[in-house]
């Protein structure tokens, strides 16, 4: 009878496609909104992931998230280096500064200053130039290719050329991408582009500019506290957790491994912003739309077939067998609807890859969508099953 149950489902094409549409739309909405949410949240700590090969981030204990800048005194680096078990510690500067372009356009940039000796904290991908070139005078490396607002120079200005005295560019005139050799101003100080880098999309809608720590300080406004964080690598074989605890105890600073630091950032955004609620509402809407459309369609499908179920019951089919048929129909519709929805989400994700849209489908998201579709199917089929259980086989003798 299972084969017949499937044929009954597929045979009623109008309702079958309606059910698929409902379940597909529900899983699409649930998985897509969840993926966008995860993608968005991932951007909040993406910078942490950019910095590889280190064991601990040391920062101000009151800092809530990566971009919550609570600068440390310059002595922090020496205090951290003095902790037993630290192999090396490098300073990191990170702050928004203003870049002035040759056409007079002023744009915020996220300046990251890394240790000139170790180059720890540098970008994951260098597209043009070498990271070591940051040691050259006035050298900076500029992010390209991300969806962040890009630095664009006047198209009339050749790469690496310096505007002639008195040469003025229209701020609204044609522009080109920044290239190696271009000259910028950071806080009215000269900055020469020696390389181009690619960075992960972050929550800060400003292009990232890498330079050395010392040079970043020269660009930054004068202050006693300028160091954003200290990057630490432990001695080989050192217990990182124990080292973090020693750093906390001896310096009064917070020390977290990259994963914990990312989670601290994520936790802040989850807790302190309305983003999860907004996305939660969208996901819930997807669920309820699924219940409303697919549930109603499936219920109507069962109602339409009730007379045949009644005939089967009269002919000796047990209630359990009929319930099994309904459950199988719901399961098959659910699997196909889920596949349809997840397929659409995957296509959406592939299309959105590399664009402005934050999208990250973790392996848990299809499972969540599957769980939601399963609940929708159970809700829909339970109501339908109730009709089948209550079905009196003698009703088959009643008129139409």
């Amino acid at each position: 009878m299972w084969r017949f149950a499937i044929k009954m489902l597929f045979g009623d094409s109008a309702k079958f496609y309606g059910i698929l549409l409902g379940l597909g739309f529900a899983s699409l909405l649930i998985a897509q909104q969840a993926s966008i949410f995860v993608g968005l949240m991932s951007r909040t700590f993406a910078f942490v992931g950019e910095v590889g090969h280190l064991d601990l981030w040391v920062f101000d204990p009151t800092q809530s998230f990566v971009d919550d800048q609570k600068p440390l005194r310059s002595t922090a680096i020496d205090r951290v280096r003095g902790v037993e078990g630290v192999a090396w510690a490098a300073p990191l500067y990170k702050s928004l500064l203003v870049a002035t372009l040759p056409n007079g356009v002023r744009r915020s940039v996220d300046v990251v200053g890394i240790d000139a000796d170790t180059l720890a904290g540098g970008p994951a991908e260098v597209v043009a130039g070498s990271l070591a070139d940051l040691r050259l005078p006035d050298a900076v490396m500029v992010e390209i290719g991300s969806s962040q607002q890009q630095l664009r120079l006047p198209a009339d200005l050749a790469p690496g050329a310096i505007p002639a005295p008195g040469q003025v560019f229209d701020p609204n005139g044609p522009t080109r991408d920044v290239e190696v050799g271009d000259i910028l101003e950071l806080n009215e100080r000269r900055a020469r582009v020696v390389g181009l880098v690619k960075c992960a999309e972050t929550f800060v809608a400003a292009p990232t500019v890498y330079t050395t720590y010392a040079r970043a300080l020269s660009y930054a406004p004068q202050s006693r506290r300028v160091m954003s964080a200290v990057l630490v690598t432990a001695n080989e074989g050192e217990d990182v957790a124990a080292l973090a605890e020693r750093i906390r105890t001896q310096t009064g600073l917070e020390a977290l491994d990259p994963n914990a630091y990312a989670m601290r950032t994520l936790s802040y955004w989850m807790r302190e912003t309305g983003i999860p609620i907004n996305f939660g509402i969208a996901i819930a809407l997807g669920f309820f739309v699924g219940v409303a459309i697919a549930g109603q369609m499936f219920y109507n499908f069962t109602l339409d077939n009730l007379r045949y179920f009644g005939a089967f019951k009269a002919m000796g089919a047990s209630t359990w067998r009929l319930l099994g048929m309904v459950a199988l129909q719901a399961l098959v519709a659910g699997v196909l609807g889920l596949g349809l929805g997840l397929g659409a989400v995957s296509a959406f994700g592939l299309n959105a890859a590399g664009g402005k849209l934050a999208f990250k489908m973790l392996w848990q998201i299809p499972l969540i969508a599957a769980g939601a579709v399963l609940i929708i199917c159970i809700l829909a089929s339970v109501i339908s099953m109730w009709k089948v259980v209550r079905l009196d086989p003698a009703d088959v003798f009643k008129g139409p």
Binding site: F4, D12, M315, A317, A394, V396
Partner: protein, 263 residues
């Protein structure tokens, strides 16, 4: 068929074993003031090997009676024995299994599943009994051939004419060779000639010594094909006519129902 008492006047009937025996069967729907007494003490013996028709006006209790003797509905009181089985003692699942093994149904609305092929529709009782779909469909096609529907097994039932659909429904009712065939208005949707042929088909295939056929009908064009006609009225059997000659004659009670009020 014997009716009301064991002292039947018909020796032919007496020669047959009793397929269905009802004594004092009652059924009431609802409670209190809204209660409807559908059956008010039915006594009925249906001999094996015969075709019995239940006739009467709408609402007289025919459908309730046929539902009870087919094991679809429980009676409130009285004795109900079908082919030696006391249906009142069977629990719901056992009753379903009993119906699956012993009863064939022909419904007024056919109830052919439009999403299944003709052969698949016919094969349902066999599949319910645990046979494989492929074997059941093969048997269904063989039966369809004998019913003049050769080559139609893969068609959708809705593509067939009313008469063909009825033959498919008959095939579905007969494929598992049930001992009891229950038919609800089997000719109501058919013209006179087709109705007669359908009834002859049912009669020819089901009135064997170890079987019985019960037909609910309003169609007096087929009364002559009945071995017995029980006239149901107001929840009681108040008239019985015997055999084809009796059926064509003016209905005259051969006996009265013990315990019932013939008015």
């Amino acid at each position: 068929m014997t009716f009301g008492s064991a002292n039947s006047t018909n020796t032919t009937v007496a020669a047959h074993a009793t397929a269905i025996r009802l004594r004092g069967v009652t059924k009431t729907f609802g409670r209190g003031e809204s209660a409807v007494k559908a059956l008010q003490g039915i006594d009925l013996d249906v001999p094996a090997g015969e075709l019995t028709m239940l006739v009467g006006p709408s609402g007289c209790g025919k459908t309730t009676l046929i539902s009870i003797l087919a094991g679809l509905l429980s009676r409130d009181s009285g004795e109900l024995n079908v082919f030696g089985t006391d249906l009142a003692t069977l629990r719901r699942d056992r009753l379903a299994a009993w119906r699956r093994d012993n009863v064939g149904f022909i419904f007024q609305q056919f109830n052919l599943v439009p999403q299944l092929t003709v052969a698949e529709n016919v094969s349902v009782p066999l599949v319910l009994k645990g046979e494989s779909v492929s074997a059941s469909v093969r048997k269904a096609n063989e039966l369809l051939t004998t019913l003049g529907l050769e080559g139609r097994g893969k068609s959708g039932p809705l593509k067939l004419s009313g008469g063909q659909q009825q033959r498919v429904a008959i095939a579905r009712a007969l494929i598992h060779e049930p001992r009891l065939l229950v038919c609800d208005e089997p000719t109501s949707a058919l013209d006179a000639e087709l109705g007669r042929r359908v009834m002859e088909l049912i009669r020819g295939r089901s009135t064997r010594p170890d079987r019985a056929v019960v037909v609910v009908t309003h169609d007096d064009r087929i009364f002559h094909l009945a071995d017995s006609i029980a006239h149901v009225n107001d929840g009681r059997i108040d008239q019985l006519t015997r055999g084809a000659a009796h059926a064509r004659a003016a209905p005259t009670p051969t006996t009265s129902t013990p315990g019932s009020n013939p008015n």
